[in-house]
């Protein structure tokens, strides 16, 4: 992966998050405190601003740099969680990304540890975990299939009862709304996969 390629990927993900910030905030207004989009935009604007410099680094260092920026800029619950995701990815991934499935599995583990949470609690893990499983299963056309997995997984959070995150304070009233973090995870995965397809590196 060249710096140009990496730059395109970073910008694609950042732009997708920024473009959907209002939607994320609206989801968070329904069952949270109405700032998920604001938080994510703040973080990904910082990531985007540094994208050129970040893309010059080897992949592990680039991922760690993004993770650090998210930790420092996003705040809220999603900051440490997405920050941990990228930091852990950076820690285990090979410079050529050859071990992506294993690295992603380790990163999702790290998020679970940070959040003291697991899939089924109506959080971003309900998207990250099935995506990780699909990645582990492998097979052809992953960049085309993963966004579908992610979107379906995000939709599947709608009927769930939240037991982690602010939505858990709502009890039964959390049912019937999509989890904002699940939606932002699905967004990031979709934009990353689309960019990979465009680069034809998939």
């Amino acid at each position: 992966m060249t710096p140009e390629h990496l730059h395109k990927l970073i910008v694609a993900v950042a732009d997708a998050v920024i473009a959907h910030a209002d939607e994320l905030t609206e989801l968070d207004q329904a069952i949270g405190d109405g700032d998920h989009g604001v938080n994510m935009r703040r973080g990904f604007e910082a990531v985007r601003a540094d994208a050129a410099a970040t893309a010059e680094k080897p992949l592990p260092d680039a991922l760690k740099a993004i993770g650090t920026q998210l930790v420092m800029k996003v705040g809220g619950a999603s900051g440490p969680l997405y920050g941990t995701l990228f930091l852990a990815l950076g820690k285990t991934i090979a410079p050529d990304a050859s071990n992506i499935a294993a690295a992603f599995a380790a990163a999702v583990q790290a998020v679970e540890a940070r959040g003291k949470s697991h899939p089924g609690q109506k959080t971003l893990l309900d998207v990250l975990a099935p995506v990780q499983a699909a990645l582990a299963d492998g097979g052809p056309h992953l960049p085309a299939r993963l966004p579908i997995v992610a979107a379906a997984a995000a939709d599947a959070t709608v009927p769930m009862l939240a037991t982690r995150g602010r939505a858990s304070f709502l009890g039964e009233r959390s049912i019937g709304h999509m989890d904002p973090g699940a939606r932002s995870s699905a967004l990031m995965i979709a934009s990353l996969c689309r960019a990979l397809e465009e680069l034809d590196l998939g």
């Binding site: 604001v38 809220g76 440490p80 940070r114 982690r164 602010r166 858990s168 304070f169």
Partner: protein, 330 residues
């Protein structure tokens, strides 16, 4: 949304600058406004650090000063501050006796403080944490996020702050903080929603005759929405939930904190004090200490929370100990 502000992006910074100017005798801002710290530190004293999203003023920066916090990290409105802020605060106010982090139970706050604690410990510092979770509107649970930390946090900060001033060691302060939290319960009711400046519209909507019972300090929906009731009926429901859960023995003495959410006149808060103390008396409890004011707020939300802390002689003495901060002073 009507606000006295210049721009959403600079609201917090400008407000912090005003706070620092107005209370230059007590506190000062850290670099890049990452934290608010006491002007003068006491060497050998455990450093008390708290923080959380803005929008709850005067919590926490208004409680920085002698007898309470050493530093507070302000996040954006309703958004946890980040670990770099907390690490910077720890570095600024730790005089070697260790740091106690006082954290409201929200996953964001908990995880960010946790990451900061890990970084500080890796740096050779001693760090302990007290997580407050006094809001009985949410069921307590070990398998989920559990209860929110709300206005009771200020009681923990005050009492632990007094003990820290007497140079109690870190573990003792941590245990004291957990004990005070255990003895404290809160419950909130909103009459109007609040509006996060960056969002620009109310977090929820309430009809002109509705209230949100069990609301959180971010305008999170509570137990149920219902018709606006009389002050006595509201106080009854609030104290019912608090006292059933607290299960303090009859004859107990307690602190009664009636806290406004930002948009409620003091006149109404004192009226709630009056309602609450009658109900307490009816349950065989005596309010021996009172605190009334808009101290743990939710921007412009109207409504109030009631907090009860079961006191003993020691806690009462610590509550009475002198405090000199921007928002509390005696």
């Amino acid at each position: 949304m009507k606000r006295l502000m210049n721009a959403v992006d600079t609201l917090l910074d400008e407000s912090l600058d005003g706070l620092a100017a107005a209370h230059a005798d007590i506190l000062e801002l850290g670099a890049e406004r990452k934290f608010v710290r006491r002007k003068v530190l006491t060497p050998g004293k455990v450093a008390l650090i708290s923080g959380g999203g803005a929008g709850h003023e005067p919590l926490h920066a208004g409680f920085v000063g002698a007898g309470m916090l050493d530093a507070a990290c302000p996040g954006q409105v309703f958004t946890s501050p980040t670990p770099d802020q907390m690490v910077a605060a720890i570095e600024a106010v730790d005089t070697g006796a260790g740091c106690l982090l006082i954290v409201k139970n929200y996953e964001g706050d908990v995880m960010n403080f946790e990451m900061a604690g890990e970084l500080a410990v890796a740096d050779g510092r001693t760090v302990e944490t007290v997580v407050t979770n006094d809001d009985v509107a949410v069921p307590k649970s070990t398998w989920s996020t559990g209860r929110r930390g709300v206005a009771g946090t200020l009681v923990v900060e005050k009492i632990v702050g007094a003990a820290a001033e007497q140079l109690a060691p870190l573990e003792a302060l941590r245990d004291l903080g957990r004990e005070v939290n255990e003895r404290t319960r809160s419950f909130g009711v909103a009459l109007t929603p609040c509006t996060v400046p960056a969002a620009g519209k109310p977090t929820f909507t309430l009809a002109p005759d509705e209230m949100e019972v069990g609301v959180g300090i971010h305008g999170e929906p509570g137990r149920r929405r219902s018709k606006l009731a009389s002050a006595d009926a509201i106080a009854d429901e609030m104290l019912g939930a608090i006292l059933d859960d607290l299960a303090a023995p009859a004859g107990s003495q307690c602190l009664l904190l009636v806290n406004g959410f930002g948009g409620t006149p003091l006149m109404e808060l004192y009226l709630m004090v009056n309602a609450a103390r009658r109900i307490l008396a009816g349950r065989g409890m005596t309010a021996t200490r009172y605190l009334t004011g808009s101290l743990v707020t939710s921007l412009d939300m109207a409504g109030c929370s009631i907090t009860v802390t079961a006191l003993d002689e020691r806690l009462t003495r610590l509550w009475d100990a002198p405090v000199k901060t921007a928002a509390l002073s005696w």
